[in-house]
């Protein structure tokens, strides 16, 4: 019987309840994803190969074609720059509105993610969202256009700088020739790329990685896992989060340096040992060398991630796995208590494992009539949730219970977010609550025992989606003023607005749990009224209110602090998205590493790539610095504060020094802005906290991230290409 259950577990593990909920499907999907990415590269290659084979061009023809494409691209870039200039300078779009536009799109990935989850996930919607993110509501607001503009400016910048350098080196006329040749050949090379050569170089990179260094990283990973098995505490408050966070961050922190090392040292080593001589004296194009390396290392990383993912998954399952014991006496006691009411305060508990026990609960079967004395009457046992999980129980012959593996801890909630508004103490609508003093707190507060309330409006609430009522989940911040009693939990109430009377009806009261997710059901029937008939309006909107009941105490809320749990996505799918995120980060590192190593020596390229990586993590901060949204002003101003030990809020005294500092900051803001826009936001690719906290990572964000990564890689690739091409490799 046990064996059967294990087999069932295994199939469940492999295929899940639906065939696509288990581990198999996501990993097939992962494979597919990797293949699609590699395929995308191959499509470009094969396309170019097709051009080559189907139009056998003479060298002269291909040269002219290259010239047309090259200068055509430059022309388009110039056009984009001009259009951008006109837009930025035109009076209708003052600089502030332009800034706002860019700001809104800068934060758009997160917005779109939230908005997306607000509508639940459907793939077409996700695509639509991604489209919105790329192209924006107005043409100039989409990230795509910003990217286009940025790339155009960079392209022209590089061309002009290159021209200048060439003029200094060779004099004006030969310089023009050099630049002309570079532009032409670059374009020409695109349709001369050969998939076979790129694949050969990719294979070489893979072989290099496999035969030389990769094993070390891998062994390190396994060792870490073994070690961690000893030190991670499965009895902590939220072991699931701990384990998931651990495996995801470990994988990331191991993979990124490893790939950084591999990708930045590969080309310089080839140049140093001169093996590159035998390669570039074959009909290989510079682009193929860069592309092949990036592809090869990415595939290495993808393979490693796949293996690490499976190992991590097993590690998490095994780490969290435990069984409690329930003896026949305990079971009988639980039944007795269920029939006669509780005799002990906490009910009957299982044995203690991983620092917790579950209450044993029993419900009589409906047809429970007569049972012979001394036998357990028919009914169902189940265990209460503890540490975010429960177990299934199965009665044995001897009256004791067999406990299954933990369930319900590995989830991927799909939250539906609403729009947040507030009522002030007098019950008048405002758009903000109270600030309780912490300046950068993202939550607003509502005061207890007043008319203050937070109101979320949810859209698209239909009986088909919520047949049994609505599951509400909250993560509330609590602020206790000194007047209240510190020890006691703070109570609040949840309200629904009646669609006809527009007044609020209390659904239930609760004690706030801080630092945890607090789930409550709003049933179909509320005080005799049907949810959909009396509370949800014709357009499918539902308003949920929250009040604090205790005097002089406060609840802190933000938009995302109360959501409807619209459903659950596949956890394994989400886990896989976590690894995909790492994969994208690796792709960026590898692309950048290879590109920079075309002209920097190994260690320097490594430091440079690492620098970009770190700066990329602070991209958001740099952006805020650039647009003056940080406390304490720009870099120079904050330096002054640092030296003078001034706090960050108060205005500096007006003095020439302050003015100068502000001017310098103004100057610095330009480059900072550009940098913040150009560097990839590495942090945005990391979705480990989504996975660890049990929230589904929206598909739209996966798409947006992928687009982001590819968009960043394109100019980086051209950079590497250009340097490799213009360099004397035999120096």
């Amino acid at each position: 019987m046990i064996v059967e259950r294990y087999i069932a577990d295994f199939w469940g593990w492999l295929l899940g309840p639906g065939w696509h909920d288990g581990i198999l499907f996501p990993w097939l999907l992962y494979l597919l994803g990797v293949l699609v990415l590699a395929g995308l590269a191959l499509v470009v290659l094969v396309g170019s190969g097709w051009v080559r084979w189907s139009l056998p061009l003479t060298p002269r023809q291909s040269r002219s074609l290259g010239r047309i494409v090259g200068y055509g691209t430059l022309g388009v870039a110039l056009l984009v720059i001009l259009l951008m200039g006109i837009f930025l300078l035109s009076p209708s779009a003052s600089s502030s509105s332009a800034k706002e536009a860019t700001e809104s799109s800068a934060s758009s990935p997160k917005d779109s993610a939230q908005a997306d989850s607000a509508e639940g996930v459907s793939f077409s919607k996700a695509l639509l969202r991604a489209g919105d993110f790329l192209f924006g509501p107005g043409w100039q607001e989409g990230t795509f256009y910003q990217w286009l503009g940025m790339v155009s400016v960079v392209t022209w910048g590089v061309v002009l700088v290159g021209l200048l350098a060439a003029v200094i080196r060779h004099g004006p006329l030969p310089a023009l020739k050099v630049v002309d040749r570079t532009i032409t050949e670059l374009a020409e090379d695109v349709f001369r790329l050969s998939p076979r050569r790129v694949w050969a170089l990719a294979r070489l990179a893979i072989q290099e990685a496999v035969r030389r260094r990769i094993v070390i990283g891998f062994v390190l990973f396994l060792l870490l896992m073994l070690f961690a098995g000893w030190y991670l505490d499965p009895g902590s408050v939220n072991p699931t989060r701990l384990y998931l966070h651990f495996v995801l961050t470990t994988t990331g922190y191991l993979m990124l340096p490893l790939m950084l090392f591999l990708s930045t040292f590969s080309l310089p080593t080839d140049i140093r040992t001169k093996t590159i001589h035998t390669v570039v004296t074959k009909p290989v194009r510079a682009g193929e060398i860069v592309l092949g390396r990036v592809l090869g290392f990415f595939l290495v990383a993808a393979g490693l991630l796949a293996v690490m993912g499976v190992i991590s998954y097993v590690f998490v399952i095994r780490g969290l796995s435990h069984r409690h014991e329930i003896t026949a006496e305990m079971a009988a006691e639980a039944v007795k208590q269920a029939q006669t009411g509780p005799t002990k305060e906490f009910g009957v508990m299982t044995t203690m494992v991983h620092n917790h026990r579950h209450a044993i609960l029993w419900k009589p079967a409906d047809s429970a009539s007569s049972t012979p004395q001394g036998q357990t009457p028919p009914g169902t046992f189940w265990l209460a949730m503890e540490q975010g999980h429960t177990h299934r129980v199965f009665p044995r012959e001897d009256g004791s219970l067999e406990v299954g593996p933990p369930e319900g801890n590995l989830i991927a909630r799909v939250p539906q977010y609403g729009k947040l508004q507030f009522l002030d103490r007098q019950g008048r609508p405002t758009d903000k609550g109270i600030n309780v003093g912490e300046e950068w707190e993202y939550r607003s507060y509502i005061e207890g025992d007043t008319n203050a309330a937070a109101i979320w409006t949810f859209e698209d609430i239909r009986p088909e989606r919520f047949p049994e009522g609505v599951l509400v989940e909250m993560t509330l911040g609590v602020f206790r003023s000194w007047k209240g009693e510190i020890e006691q939990p703070i109570r609040g109430s949840l309200l629904l607005r009646d669609r006809t009377t527009r007044s609020f009806v209390e659904v239930f009261t609760f004690s706030a749990k801080e630092f945890q997710i607090d789930s409550h059901w709003i049933p179909r029937q509320i005080k005799g009224k049907d949810l959909f008939e009396h509370f949800v309006d014709d357009r499918g909107r539902l308003e949920i209110g929250l009040k604090c009941l205790d005097r002089a105490q406060f609840f802190g809320v933000s938009q995302a602090d109360l959501y409807l749990r619209a459903g659950d996505a596949s956890f394994v799918g989400n886990f896989f998205k976590g690894y995909l995120g790492i994969g994208l980060q690796v792709l960026l590192v590898v692309g950048l590493g290879v590109a920079l190593s075309t002209f920097l020596s190994g260690p320097v390229a490594m430091v440079a790539t690492g620098g970009v990586l770190v700066l990329g993590f602070f991209g958001d901060f740099m952006y805020r610095l650039a647009v003056g949204k940080t406390y304490g002003g720009g870099p120079v101003e904050s330096l002054i504060r640092l030296v003078t030990q001034e706090n960050v809020i108060s205005e500096l005294e007006p003095s020439p020094r302050t003015t100068a500092a502000k001017m310098l900051d103004q100057l610095a803001s330009g480059p900072l802005w550009v940098m913040s826009k150009m560097l990839p936001r590495f942090g945005d690719f990391d979705c480990s906290s989504f996975v660890a906290d049990g929230f589904d990572f929206p598909a739209a964000m996966v798409l947006a991230n992928t687009a982001n990564a590819l968009a960043f890689l394109l100019p980086v690739f051209v950079l590497g290409y250009g340097f490799l091409k213009s360099q004397e490799l035999a120096q």
Partner: protein
């Protein structure tokens, strides 16, 4: 443009600079060179004279400071020219973590060769360079000569029209050297053009049609080997079957006709030929000590003059080109004065 000219350099100059652009070495000075289809051209010169620099310029691995290089009539930086070129670098710069088979397969892919053709070429070449027994071993385990051989195979993978060989015989044993020279001649006979550089003078002499001599980046001498090496004021007679008396008589005749006999006696062979013969014998009869070869060479017949090439009027091969494919010794009559 004359399609018979495969490589042409015009006023080719290369100055190596340091990071700051300051001049370090003037490695090549105004080189004018034309290499024609179907010839073996040897570039000679002492260490550091600019031979490798020239080859790298031709390959587009480095760019000329001034002047230009045309290969097949195209600029040397053109990538497409590489499809018709094979290059054996100074040392075999190959990926040490690949096996011989993988190496050839890899370079075959770089030429966009389909799998069938790659496999076939690789098998042929491994057979040709006699590495069949080690083809599954990583190159890191290879000896110097083995690496050299696989390097050559790599250079031939695309059946190139033009071969650029940087010191092809270094690291090879005498058998290998002989084999390499035979191979070069065979390739030449197939119509390929070969540019090799070396300071192994006898190698160059054995195979090259024309040579150029570089010194400190300047071309000092250029011409056909046969013309350059002909010693016009000497006559050489090689004959067999003469008794010592007959020999004396011939000498007397020469002197009577106004000639001067510099050397008369048994010729010496070269150590190379001796070595080759011993190895061949030993391969024919494994396990037996090869006898008779050393004894056949009386010590007295190794005169001081013929040992050093610089002082003797003519070195080992005295013909226009001594075909080294022809085995056995070639008698060399010299008489000490």
């Amino acid at each position: 443009m004359d399609s018979d000219i495969v490589i042409e350099t015009r006023n080719l100059t290369k100055v190596y600079r340091d990071f700051w652009g300051r001049e370090k070495v003037r490695a090549l000075k105004a080189l004018d060179l034309q290499i024609r289809r179907g010839e073996i051209f040897g570039l000679l010169g002492p260490n550091g004279s600019g031979k490798t620099t020239t080859i790298k310029l031709i390959l587009g691995l480095i760019f000329p400071t001034s002047g230009e290089v045309l290969v097949f009539g195209q600029d040397a930086r053109e990538v497409t020219k590489n499809e018709r070129i094979g290059y054996l670098p100074e040392e075999s710069y190959l990926y040490r973590f690949l096996t011989a088979e993988e190496t050839l397969d890899f370079y075959g892919r770089l030429f966009n060769m389909p799998a069938m053709l790659r496999r076939q070429r690789a098998a042929e070449l491994i057979e040709m360079v006699e590495l069949g027994w080690a083809k599954r071993r990583q190159l890191r385990e290879y000896s110097k000569g083995m690496t050299r051989r696989i390097g050559l195979a790599q250079a031939l993978i695309n059946d190139p029209e033009l071969l650029l060989l940087d010191e092809p015989t270094t690291g090879l044993d005498p058998m290998g050297t002989r084999w390499m020279k035979d191979l070069l001649l065979k390739l030449r006979d197939q119509g390929k053009t070969i540019l090799m550089c070396s300071h192994q003078l006898d190698d160059v002499q054995d195979v090259c049609d024309r040579v150029g001599i570089l010194h400190q980046g300047e071309l000092k001498e250029l011409g056909r080997v046969s013309d350059l090496l002909k010693v016009r004021e000497m006559t050489e007679i090689q004959c067999s079957g003469l008794s010592p008396e007959a020999e004396r008589e011939v000498c007397a005749v020469v002197e009577r006709l106004g000639g001067k006999v510099h050397f008369c006696g048994n010729p010496t062979t070269t150590l190379e030929k001796l070595f080759v013969r011993i190895i061949r014998e030993s391969e024919a009869h494994p396990g037996r000590r090869v006898r008779g070869v050393l004894e056949a060479e009386p010590p007295r017949t190794i005169p001081a003059a013929s040992g050093s090439q610089a002082t003797g009027p003519s070195s080992t091969g005295s013909g226009p080109r001594s075909s080294s494919s022809q085995s056995g010794e070639k008698p060399n009559i010299q008489r000490e004065n």
